[in-house]
């Protein structure tokens, strides 16, 4: 059949087009694209940390299944293999790795990295130090000789020890074991940013396969934990559930439409506007942004769900042929599409790149879908379907009931205020509580800090920030003694301020004086034993030799970069606290001391950002709603009609919002997306019901079409609503409930048929 061929060909072309565009476009999965642009320094820290902070890149590993020696050999062998993997920045297992590059730089920088120089050179202390070197000679023999020549004061081991990753529980220099001694612990720092699921997933797989292939690990078990593990697990679960439910939903839709129209050709043709919409959306996104975010595709597809209704209306009013149907449905359909476009355009203007992309995708997609429905489908040569749904009657309702309901709901919303909203982002994705507990456990055992709190110091330039950080570090020393925190990591251990470096350089005596001091303190040493050390002292430069660049090319570079960063208004340094008994108490104490360091609670700030964000979107949508009302008035002319058209969707959206907010734990941004879709669909129903029920037969057609729309959309989203994944469930329930209410409200307030 000619029509069939045409439909088939067009579908094939569009799908091919989609495939081509998708393959050319790079797909992005980084969630931070959906974060709002930061507005304060604290918010900037949060977005930075979320997108590339070290906390999100730590993978904790535990090996068990053996005791003592076997655990140790396994841990050492594994650490070595893992270090050679791509994507692994460093591996700590308690035994400091003999990293040539770092040790050499430490040796070169030792004179300015070490504090308390004058006290070290006091005769009694110097004597003790050299006696300790004698002890090392006794234990390690000839091997210790070269180190002692170059570093008789033992500066490098001391600095190295202070830098060893998170503090381990066991004696320094031995592999980390858990509290019972049954498991060996390792910490892997991933080179990939926290939300790069694909890279993290492939890294986790490689960590596991390396372990499985290791001889020393035969019969032992490996357990991985940490933010990358949690997010990969969460993403996989979401993906598999989403796939399963979308397939179910799509299957339901196909079957239902087949039953309603009894024509596979019509069902296939109905898919054309949606497919064309996706293609237009992709092309627009590609043209405007150059890439497509994975979430844009997912949510965009959802928002285009309103485009599924268009062919239903077209076929529903096609008694006299599809061409004539097109002219009949044109007005309400265009009006509905234009209104929804306004709302999507409002999202396009959002400050987050991800949401802007979503708005653009959906707007372009909707335009394409509408055009296809009105221009392409009528020309394909399809025959209209018969009627399927039995006649039913719904009681008529006065529009004033809706007004009352709307006012009631708005009043509830006004009194509840902020309670309606939930900033809890963890509800959105499925998180295995076992994994979360495992991560918290390991962090505690390894003294790795809690990944939620940071101390931030800002300054105009690098030197100012470093000096302020040193001041803060002094204060933290006191805080430590007061029991407010156990330990911390800061950049000044590796990059002291220039002022401090110059001060330390001044404190070192001239080589001749040093030689005298050494021979007085260690008479048993030959006079020429420490020449290499004295030569290094002689070669010391006048000015500060150490900066962030000193560490480039060593594994310590990334640590420096994550703790010291340029910002839009200067520089920022981060101190990572560990073992805080009471974060609020520490924040208060720092405040009392007028400290340059501020305690930042990432979770708290992130929630604040989401709240700001919601307000921003809320304002945009409110403006959009105003514009939509204006548009309706422009086209419909009669204010009474405008109100009757706007009332059902507005009431449905508000009721759904309140029911879900109060019944659940508050509305999230996913709910908001769903409500937006409900608004668009509801407006469509209302437009058709109020402008296309002028005669009995037209009313019948409208009823048929709108019922099919409601049942199909409601059914699909109800299926999504049974998901365990928070995001999907929220979306599904919101849209299913909203669509049902929209349909009921729209149909129950339909204009009475004119008595003929």
């Amino acid at each position: 059949m000619k029509a069939g061929l045409r439909v088939g060909l067009m579908l094939a072309l569009v799908v091919a087009g989609i495939a081509i565009v998708l393959s050319r476009l790079s797909l992005d999965y980084r969630i931070d694209a959906f974060l709002p642009a930061p507005e304060s320094a604290s918010q900037a820290v949060v977005t930075d940390q979320l997108s590339q902070g070290p906390g999100g890149r730590l993978i904790f590993a535990a090996i068990d299944g053996a005791e003592g020696g076997r655990l140790k050999t396994a841990s050492q062998a594994l650490a070595e293999r893992w270090r050679s993997l791509d994507g692994v920045e460093r591996v700590d297992n308690g035994i400091p790795e003999p990293d040539r590059a770092s040790m050499e730089r430490l040796m070169q920088a030792r004179f300015v990295l070490i504090p308390d120089i004058e006290s070290r050179l006091a005769p009694a202390r110097l004597r003790q130090t050299l006696r300790e070197r004698l002890s090392e000679l006794a234990l390690a023999g000839g091997r210790a000789e070269e180190f002692i020549r170059r570093d008789p004061l033992g500066l490098v081991p001391e600095i190295g020890e202070r830098l060893t990753g998170p503090g381990g529980p066991a004696a320094p220099g031995d592999i980390w074991l858990d509290d019972d001694g049954h498991r060996a612990l390792l910490v892997v720092t991933s080179a990939h940013p926290p939300f790069d699921f694909q890279a993290q997933e492939s890294l986790l797989e490689r960590l596991h396969s390396t372990f499985d292939a290791l001889d020393e690990a035969r019969g032992l078990q490996l357990r991985l934990a940490g933010a990358p593990v949690i997010s990969v697990d969460s993403a996989n679960r979401s993906r598999s559930d989403a796939l399963r439910l979308s397939s179910l939903g799509a299957g339901f839709l196909l079957l239902f439409l087949l039953w309603a129209w009894r024509s596979p050709l019509l069902v296939a043709a109905a898919g054309l506007p949606l497919a064309a919409g996706v293609l237009c959306g992709l092309l627009a996104t590609a043209a405007l942004f150059g890439q497509v975010h994975g979430l844009t595709l997912a949510f965009g597809f959802t928002l285009l769900g309103v485009a599924l209704d268009y062919p239903v209306h077209l076929f529903g009013h096609a008694e006299g042929g599809i061409r004539s149907s097109a002219s009949r449905v044109r007005m309400p359909m265009l009006l509905g599409a234009a209104s929804t476009l306004i709302a999507y355009a409002a999202i396009w203007l959002s400050s987050s790149p991800g949401l802007a992309q979503l708005g653009a995708f959906s707007a372009a997609g909707l335009a394409g879908a509408t055009a296809t429905t009105l221009l392409v489908l009528p020309r394909v040569g399809l025959s209209p379907p018969g009627e399927r749904l039995a006649a039913w009657r719904l009681p008529a309702l006065s529009p004033w009931v809706l007004v009352a309901l709307l006012l009631l709901v708005l009043a509830v919303m006004a009194t509840r205020g902020a309670d309606l909203w939930s900033g809890d982002l963890t509800r959105l994705s499925p998180v295995d509580p076992e994994l979360v507990a495992a991560e918290r456990d390991m962090r505690r055992m390894l003294n790795a800090g809690d990944a939620r709190h940071l101390l931030v110091v800002t300054g105009e330039d690098r030197e100012a920030v470093l000096q302020a950080t040193e001041h803060a570090a002094d204060q933290l020393n006191q805080a430590q003694q007061a029991g407010l925190l156990a330990d911390w990591q800061s950049v000044v251990e590796l990059v002291p301020s220039e002022r401090t470096q110059r001060r330390r350089l001044d404190q070192w005596p001239a080589p001749e004086a040093m030689r005298d001091l050494l021979s007085a303190a260690g008479p048993s040493f030959r006079p020429d034993s420490f020449e290499p050390f004295l030569q290094d002292l002689e070669d010391l430069p006048e000015d500060a030799p150490v900066g962030p660049d000193t560490w480039q090319g060593t594994p310590l570079a990334h640590r420096v970069d994550s703790l010291l960063q340029p910002t839009a208004s200067g520089w920022r340094s981060i101190l990572i606290p560990a073992g805080m008994s009471d974060p609020d108490a520490l924040a208060q104490w720092l405040d009392d001391q007028n400290s340059p360091a501020r305690l930042v609670d990432l979770k708290h700030i992130a929630e604040g950002m989401v709240a700001d964000y919601r307000r921003e979107i809320g304002v945009s949508l409110a403006v959009a709603a105003g514009l939509i009302l204006g548009l309706l008035w422009l086209r419909l002319r009669r204010p009474g009609l405008v109100v009757r058209v706007a009332l059902p969707p507005a009431t449905a959206v508000s009721c759904t919002a309140v029911v879900l907010a109060l019944g659940g734990d508050g509305l999230t941004i996913v709910h908001l997306t769903g409500l937006l879709l409900v608004g668009g669909i509801g407006l469509d129903y209302a437009l058709f019901v109020h402008t296309r029920t002028r005669g009995a037969s037209e009313a019948r057609m409208t009823r048929q079409a709108v019922s099919i729309c409601a049942l199909s959309t409601g059914g699909v989203f109800l299926i999504l609503g049974i998901s365990e994944i928070g995001m999907l469930r929220m979306l599904g329930l919101t849209v299913a409930c909203g669509v049902l209410l929209s349909f009921l409200f729209a149909w129950m307030t339909r204009p009475p048929l004119p008595r003929s």
Binding site: A140, G142, E145, R149, G173
Partner: protein, 187 residues
């Protein structure tokens, strides 16, 4: 034929050598009292103008480790465990390093623990034992490491004693250096 006979003769332990070993270990087993010893260890170094002297006491702890509590050059407690050495000082300093980095300590620990426990079989697991009994109850035990990696660093350990007492110990390193230790019971 004569060569084979010669080899056969050489492989038979010389009469009395086995008796010597048995007698020595019997004497060691007879040691009464606690097994804490005073020691003074001397070794040379290129960095030092005079040989380095380490003195203190040594004993076995409950977990089978050899513990040296030194008085000079520093006051330290050195715990020699099977796979690591841990050093502790009064000021809270604590450091651990692997035995693999100090094979001579490993050999010394094995030998001393074996002797203090008079455990001939255990020593025979790690060393070839040569025993010689001299006059007036003096004796000498010589241990040569079996393990090839260890033998690369340590040539032999020789312990001299008299009756049930240990008198001195020499650890000969492959590079020619010798670590000499004088031993005596704690007064």
């Amino acid at each position: 034929m004569p060569a084979a006979l010669l080899m056969l003769a050489a492989s038979i332990p010389a009469p009395g050598a086995d008796d010597d070993a048995a007698w020595i270990f019997q004497r060691l087993a007879d040691r009464s009292g606690d097994s804490t010893l005073e020691f003074t260890e001397t070794r040379k170094s290129e960095l030092l103008s005079e040989p380095l002297e380490v003195s203190g006491t040594l004993h076995r702890d409950g977990e089978g480790n050899l513990v040296r509590m030194t008085r000079s050059p520093t006051r330290e407690t050195q715990t020699l465990a099977e796979d690591h050495v841990e050093v502790r000082r009064d000021d809270g300093f604590r450091r651990r390093f692997s035995m693999d980095r100090a094979p001579e300590l490993k050999a010394l620990r094995s030998a001393l623990i074996g002797i203090l426990e008079a455990d001939r079989n255990r020593l025979a697991e790690h060393f070839r034992i040569h025993a010689k009994r001299g006059e007036a109850d003096r004796w000498c035990l010589r241990f040569v490491p079996d393990d090839a990696a260890l033998a690369e660093r340590v040539e032999s350990i020789t312990v001299h004693g008299r009756d049930s007492r240990l008198v001195r110990m020499h650890v000969r390193l492959a590079d020619g250096e010798t670590i000499r230790t004088k031993l005596q019971p704690v007064q």
